[in-house]
Symmetry: C2
Subunit: 221 residues, 2 copies
DNA sequence: TTTGCTTTTACGGGTTCCCGTAAAAATGCC
DNA sequence: GGCATTTTTACGGGAACCCGTAAAAGCAAA
């Protein structure tokens, strides 16, 4: 089993639970931190001392508090860590998933495991750790289900721009101007309308309210 | 300290973390379950055997899975439990809060503590348990902050009906009819418009999309 | 019952949004 | 380059939504 493991997780209860899982798997004294910046420091120092970490388990979302952090979330943490220590294994253990970004990490070879916190989150985390130790990629079963549910539509950058503008309260009429300023194409009102209609059609929605709320629910915005 | 404590929490990791917190506080063998229905059974049986539970710690949201449950969530669980055992102490330990319903429970005397899962969730849970043991009411500090943030507006039943209809894709034009069928008053289009304007005004929104997304984010719908 | 106040409803004009069609531009292929 | 296909844009009529005003209904106290 892994010798040196680092946990980055802001919720104290989840952090403890992950520690226990690791000890249970034979990791003697997993190191745990509550901030991404701290995680990076420990990884840097471990490399400097010639005893680098074997595995990083991190949450994605870290709640902001008084302590200002350079690294805002687990995704950014993984990217930085993988730059300075490419061979380290990484697992994300997160509440709600954001499959698009997660998948990007997988494709980029930056990620070895992905587990969502749910009924059997701890159990799946164990499996992910063991899989990573055997150089296998792991995704918890619930994710595949989620991916299926929404397989119908791949959100493009353009889609996300429109949704985000809607969420910010910009009227459709004003959008072409905004998009042109940011040099996003297409930018015409017709294109925006057409794309919105397509998205609503895919999900069976009739109103933009539903679409925006749905994206918010999926944490796409 | 409490002798008999029951934990109802669907996420296995959180469940373990709560168990550890309890053991740490001197509760010898806390009972834990993953479903509300199971929780109610254990409480009933304990009463029957003349050794009722002293404290119930429960999550609010329980993810649906194959096993169909009569009691859908922690709020319903508390209501039922308090009917058959009014003197039991209750603490909710939950991810995102829904202050309106929680406050209703407090007012009804059904609740002794409320802690949100966050950075210091475990720490605050300890404090809540100790407070309950001393017959004090406890709310974790973050909640007051959340309450302040949205202090501006108390959502009425009417508000929630409108938002929910919007979320379901009903057009404003059709809403009066829906509301009349469900015997909700007021029901006129003007009243709906006026109320929507007021809500948007309070939050500084310009469009319904923002309002619905915001409510979705707060898990009010 | 009357009076005064609040809440609810009704209505109308102006704007935005929805939706279909058709022209223009971009893209790809030979 | 020339042609076919796809994408993007432009435009116009009709529906829904926004917003202000004013009438009607509900309600409390005298």
């Amino acid at each position: 089993m892994f010798k040196k493991v680092l946990i980055a997780e802001d919720h104290d209860t989840e952090n403890i639970a992950v520690q226990i899982t690791l000890r249970d798997l034979g990791v003697e004294s997993p190191k745990y931190v509550y901030y991404c910046d701290h995680a990076l420091n420990w990884i840097k120092n471990a490399i400097r001392d010639g005893e680098p970490y074997d595995l990083l388990i991190t949450d994605i979302e870290f709640e902001a508090d008084g302590n200002v952090q350079a690294i805002p979330d687990g995704l950014a943490l993984i990217k930085v860590v993988k730059e300075i220590q490419p061979e380290i294994k990484t697992i994300v253990f997160t509440g709600k998933d954001r499959s698009t970004t997660i998948n990007a990490l997988f494709k980029a070879g930056l990620l070895d495991g992905h587990v969502v916190k749910a009924r059997r989150g701890g159990q799946y985390l164990r499996e992910a750790i063991q899989a990573a130790y055997q150089n296998r990629i792991y995704q918890s079963p619930d994710i595949q289900k989620i991916a299926q549910e929404r397989n119908s539509h791949e959100f493009t950058q353009f889609d996300m721009h429109i949704i985000r503008l809607l969420y910010e309260g910009i009227s459709q009429k004003e959008m072409p101007e905004y998009l042109r300023q940011r040099e996003i194409r297409p930018s015409s009102l017709s294109s925006i309308e057409k794309r919105l209609n397509l998205m609503k059609d895919v999900f069976g929605f009739t109103k933009n309210e539903q679409l925006v709320a749905h994206c918010k629910e999926l944490k796409l915005i």
